[in-house]
């Protein structure tokens, strides 16, 4: 391809690529070309500052103070939870398996032990205990990860019920969706749910085996294949 053909064929696409205006297959084609084309790489580098200037051109709108407060509240909860989880993780290691059995944990004993020790909470309250739902031993973990929202996981056999409280009404067209992380993969919990008028919501997670994290997000009606919003609640359940 001579210089003129090259310019015609690729230069326009480099600009569109930087603007995010190529279709995925077009972008993939350009990326493959760029790997072996110093001229296009150079052009990409040269044009990149133009793209970076675009967000600076927007008319400034003052963000509401409440946004900063909500954000930092969530961040501090997250930070405290991470710190507590790290501390508890260290404490959990030397404990004997029999300790878990004595607490009659319904989930697999070692998982229950780890969860009991590791779930980190730093909002309005911190509560870990056990409760009987009538049919046998269960374990309850209460965690909070959003201002005012509390989550309770009641283990039953290999599964469990996730119960939320103090959930604010959802915008129209939004539902709650639970997710579990197992072996590093995030899986959707099939049943979607919504809070009732009192702010309570619950869903069943059939299989908690191998799950190290449970979280809840708000999603469009019909649910999503992957989380599309920041978690409302995140519970660490280390193995």
């Amino acid at each position: 391809m001579n210089g003129a053909d090259h310019e015609r064929h690729w230069s326009d696409d480099v600009a569109a690529y930087l603007l995010g205006a190529l279709e995925p297959e077009e972008a993939a084609e350009l990326e493959a070309h760029i790997e072996g084309c110093e001229r296009c790489r150079s052009r990409l580098r040269w044009l990149a500052p133009a793209i970076r200037s675009l967000p600076e051109s927007v008319e400034r709108v003052e963000p509401p103070r409440e946004l900063r407060e909500r954000l930092m509240e969530e961040v501090r909860v997250d930070a405290r939870a991470a710190e507590a989880a790290a501390t508890a993780s260290d404490r959990a290691r030397p404990r004997p398996p029999g300790w878990a059995r004595r607490l009659r944990l319904g989930w697999r004993p070692l998982a229950g032990l780890a969860a009991l020790a590791l779930v980190a909470v730093a909002v309005a309250g911190y509560e870990i205990g056990s409760e009987d739902s009538g049919g046998g031993p269960t374990m309850t973990v209460v965690a909070g990860h959003a201002p005012g929202v509390t989550a309770k996981m009641v283990g039953e056999g290999d599964g469990g019920t996730l119960r939320l409280a103090h959930v604010r009404p959802l915008p129209q067209g939004r539902v709650l969706q639970a997710w579990v992380r197992r072996d590093g993969e995030v899986e959707a919990v099939p049943a979607l749910f919504v809070p009732d008028r009192t702010g309570h919501a619950s869903t069943t997670i059939a299989d908690m085996q191998g799950v190290d994290t449970v979280m809840v997000t708000t999603e469009p009606s019909g649910g999503s294949r992957a989380p599309t919003s920041a978690p409302l609640v995140t519970m660490s359940i280390p193995q």
């Binding site: 696409d13 600009a15 930087l18 995010g20 200037s53 927007v58 008319e59 400034r60 003052e62 963000p63």
Partner: protein, 193 residues
């Protein structure tokens, strides 16, 4: 103001990022205070509605907080990385609200200002009136070039979608994007000279 906050304020963005990766709220707070304003403004420019802009900004910054360790300083500044996260979230929110992409009309101005399922609030009306005012680098471009760039960057439309909505050959849209970006880049270079 705590000592940690004071120390964090003295650090450059690139020095704060490793602290964010270690879950330091004060470091993150300083970053938000430095860039939250433009981030929110960008989200608002894209989604055109305050509550959604707040949601987008919060989600983007939480994502940044949780993935701070993934920042690659060789690929640009912290600010541009943060704004790209915000922009991507905002475009996703726009598409999610519209089902896929906003319905298109042949009225160019309405395309640029169109937002899904939102009534025109007083604020939006004011914004609409000032939409054609000169702002930054884009304002110096011929309208035909700024239009395709705005539709792509702030509207999340592909070049093919833009060609269809404006009734232009694809090659014309491509060319306008290129010429527009080259002019912006040229002006930036002059500013540095």
């Amino acid at each position: 103001m705590g000592v940690r906050r004071e120390k964090a304020e003295r650090l450059a963005d690139e020095e704060l990022m490793p602290l964010v990766g270690e879950k330091d709220p004060e470091a993150f707070e300083v970053l938000y205070d430095r860039h939250g304003g433009v981030a929110y403004s960008l989200a608002y420019r894209i989604v055109g509605e305050r509550s959604t802009a707040e949601e987008v900004t919060q989600e983007a910054f939480i994502s940044i907080w949780r993935s701070g360790a993934r920042f690659d300083p060789t690929r640009g500044s912290v600010r541009s990385w943060m704004l790209s996260v915000v922009r991507n979230r905002a475009i996703d929110a726009l598409r999610s609200k519209a089902g896929k992409a906003p319905k298109l009309t042949l009225d160019d101005d309405s395309i640029l200002e169109q937002r899904p399922a939102e009534e025109l609030t007083e604020e939006q009306a004011i914004r609409h009136e000032t939409a054609s005012e000169v702002r930054g680098a884009l304002g110096h471009l011929p309208g035909e070039q700024s239009k395709v760039i705005e539709l792509a960057y702030f509207g999340g439309f592909s070049q093919s979608e833009i060609a269809r909505m404006l009734g232009l050959p694809l090659g014309t849209v491509k060319g306008r994007m290129r010429l527009g970006l080259e002019k912006i880049r040229g002006e930036l270079a002059e500013g540095l000279a």
